[in-house]
């Protein structure tokens, strides 16, 4: 065929599996993110609390160590939904800081350097792109959330025995589902901020601002209107309420419940996904 007749032809040879294509970006991103000194420091620091909790579990299961401390100590050392709820609260702070450092670098550079056409000209849809970027954060954030959470649950189950596990299996599923939901939410916030401002530095600030400002605004609405429903608009409170629901921990009567908060989180995530879908296009018209 003459050279001038060789126009554009779509590649129709064999392609790698869908999963392999999804994992290409995480592979490179994980290497880059874990190469950052601050991320490594944060990962190490975030392991202190799980280690303390592990010590607590050990102490709780060895009653001979706290004999003679009175009856109140048994209640204080109980390993139940409350214990895991506090553990999850603390770890979520580290996850948030990690997301604000690692998250914005995922999409902003692609948008700022007009790299999206290069991605989308390959067998990768917009949703694949979003999913693979989420996998990056899921991998990093699960190191400080799901992994230590499940290890603590496993430790307690192995020390306390099968009977404890039979009665408290829901704590394990609660930790897993709760943290997965949280990671999905903060990943969406980080990616949407990154796509919205296009600057990595500003996007990091936006992730923090999103959580802190919404929390402040919700409290402000509560105190000015003398209500409690606005707490549901605080993403941190909302996810906490969902965790409490999953871990069967009591929520104050006058505060929004787990279902209301789950609905708010779903709505919020939908909005963030819509923003991402709007911003992530292979072609952009610059006016």
């Amino acid at each position: 065929m003459a050279v001038y007749r060789r126009g554009y032809q779509r590649y129709d040879g064999p392609t790698t599996s869908h999963f392999a294509r999804l994992m290409v970006m995480p592979r490179f991103s994980w290497e880059r993110i874990l190469g950052q000194r601050f991320v490594v420091i944060l990962l190490v620091v975030s392991l202190f609390w799980p280690m303390l909790c592990a010590g607590f579990i050990y102490l709780s299961n060895h009653s001979e160590l706290w004999q003679g401390f009175g009856g109140g100590i048994k209640k204080f050392l109980a390993i139940n939904g409350n214990f895991f709820s506090i553990f999850m609260n603390v770890q979520s702070t580290f996850a948030l800081i990690l997301a604000s450092v690692a998250g914005p670098g995922l999409i902003a550079p692609d948008l700022a350097n007009n790299a999206l056409p290069l991605y989308f000209s390959r067998p990768l849809t917009r949703w694949d792109y979003i999913l693979s970027r989420m996998i990056v954060l899921l991998g990093i954030l699960s190191l400080v959330t799901i992994l230590p959470g499940m290890l603590l649950f496993g430790m307690q189950a192995s020390i306390a025995g099968g009977d404890w596990f039979v009665h408290n299996w829901f704590l394990g599923t609660g930790i897993f589902i709760g943290f997965t939901l949280y990671i999905a939410m903060i990943s969406l916030v980080a990616m949407a901020s990154s796509a919205y401002v296009k600057w990595r530095v500003v996007a990091g600030a936006l992730v923090l601002a999103f959580f802190f400002l919404l929390a402040g605004a919700a409290e402000m609405v509560n105190s000015i209107f003398r209500v409690d429903w606005a707490s549901a608009l605080n993403p941190t409170y909302a996810i906490n309420a969902v965790w409490k629901g999953l871990l069967d921990v009591e929520i104050a009567d006058d505060k929004p419940g787990a279902w209301e908060c789950a609905t708010v989180i779903l709505g919020l995530s939908g909005g963030l996904l819509a923003l991402l879908a709007r911003k992530l296009r292979a072609v952009e018209v610059v006016k």
Binding site: G204, L213, G216, A217
Partner: protein, 362 residues
């Protein structure tokens, strides 16, 4: 041209960018958000009063007869239809082998009445009245306390903090990301002059936006209250309070602005100092006295005219650990903040003199 004229020229050029850029939209929203909420509250209180006054007013004398220990049926028979009536049943929890769980009531009922001026909240547990609280629908003193809390916890700690982060980091780091900083460096001005010009632009914009926001929300807070009470307030302590709130907002911009401008120059990722500062300012009340004085917030809180009470729902352990330092006197607070700002700006000047542009690494 004298350096002062140069500073003003640079500030004038920058002001347009700071005031009218797309990103400033969010700063405006941050600044006027409290005013919108206070106006909403005024509207809501007016509507509630109108609705409740129409057909569901229970006389104060009748409500005074309601005593703790009465059953819900007795109260309803005595006081009639309430303005709100919510019943909640206790959930049976999986870990209810806890002996304390049995002591919890099975059913809680929350009933509200309105006597034309005050709302009376009644809480029944298992059919018995256990708590009774009275709230005035509009209480000026209460609202001033709410404003003080909002100002210290939302406006200073979050609104001005993030607003200044957005405005001041943009001044240098934003120009680097836009690859336009070299145009400024090609102009025949000293870099220190450029820095001061940009800082002045950011400061004017931030102070104007947040100062106006603070004043507007203060006015919106006072708007729905009894005109005689409000007039008396404005004739006595009102102008002083308004002035110090606006001054605290302005000085907040001075302090946070200098820190974020320097962070944008000294570090490639200014988010890290922002995180550190946010954490530092958040745990401020738990630190020893001397360390509390190393924060911008301590001086700003010292300027606020109304002290903020501790939240009722704060856990006892936190209340025990919390030890706010005694507020600094006004001259110390103002001079302290200005001294810190001067020091930070001096460090930023030293940094900008050595700054080499390398857009490739951004």
């Amino acid at each position: 041209m004298t350096p002062y004229q140069q500073i003003w020229t640079i500030a004038r050029l920058e002001l347009g960018r700071v005031f009218f850029s797309k990103r400033s939209f969010w700063v405006y929203i941050l600044a006027i958000f409290p005013s919108i909420i206070f106006l909403g509250h005024a509207l809501e209180a007016g509507l509630k009063k109108r609705n409740w006054s129409a057909d569901r007013v229970t006389s104060a004398a009748t409500l005074n007869q309601v005593q703790t220990g009465m059953t819900d049926d007795q109260v309803l028979a005595l006081a009639g239809k309430p303005i709100s009536d919510v019943t909640r049943k206790r959930r049976i929890r999986r870990d209810d082998e806890d002996p304390d769980a049995e002591k919890q009531p099975e059913v809680r009922r929350y009933v509200m009445y309105f006597d034309g001026k005050k709302r009376v909240d009644l809480r029944f547990e298992d059919g018995k009245l256990v708590a009774r609280n009275t709230h005035e629908l509009m209480n000026f003193e209460d609202d001033r306390r709410v404003y003080a809390t909002m100002f210290q916890f939302f406006y200073l700690r979050l609104g001005i903090f993030f607003g200044c982060l957005g405005i001041f980091i943009n001044l240098f780091r934003g120009e680097m990301l836009d690859r336009s900083l070299h145009f400024w460096f090609l102009a025949p001005v000293k870099r220190e002059v450029l820095l001061l010009g940009k800082y002045l632009a950011g400061l004017i914009a931030a102070s104007l936006i947040f100062g106006t926001g603070a004043l507007l929300s203060f006015l919106a807070m006072a708007l729905p209250h009894d005109p005689t009470e409000v007039a008396a307030f404005w004739q006595t302590i009102g102008p002083g309070h308004a002035f110090w709130y606006v001054a605290a907002a302005g000085l907040g911009c001075v302090g946070y602005g200098s820190v974020f401008l320097a962070a944008g120059l000294l570090l490639r990722n200014p988010i890290l100092p922002a995180i550190v500062m946010l954490i530092w300012e958040s745990i401020n009340g738990f630190l020893p006295d001397v360390m509390q004085k190393l924060s911008v917030l301590h001086y700003l809180q010292s300027l606020c005219p109304v002290p903020v009470p501790l939240p009722n729902d704060m856990p006892a352990v936190l209340k025990m650990l919390l030890a706010p330092a005694a507020p600094s006197s006004i001259p110390v607070a103002v001079l302290g903040l200005l001294a810190v700002t001067a020091l930070v700006l001096f460090a930023a000047m030293q940094s900008v003199k050595r700054l080499e542009i390398n857009y490739g690494t951004e």
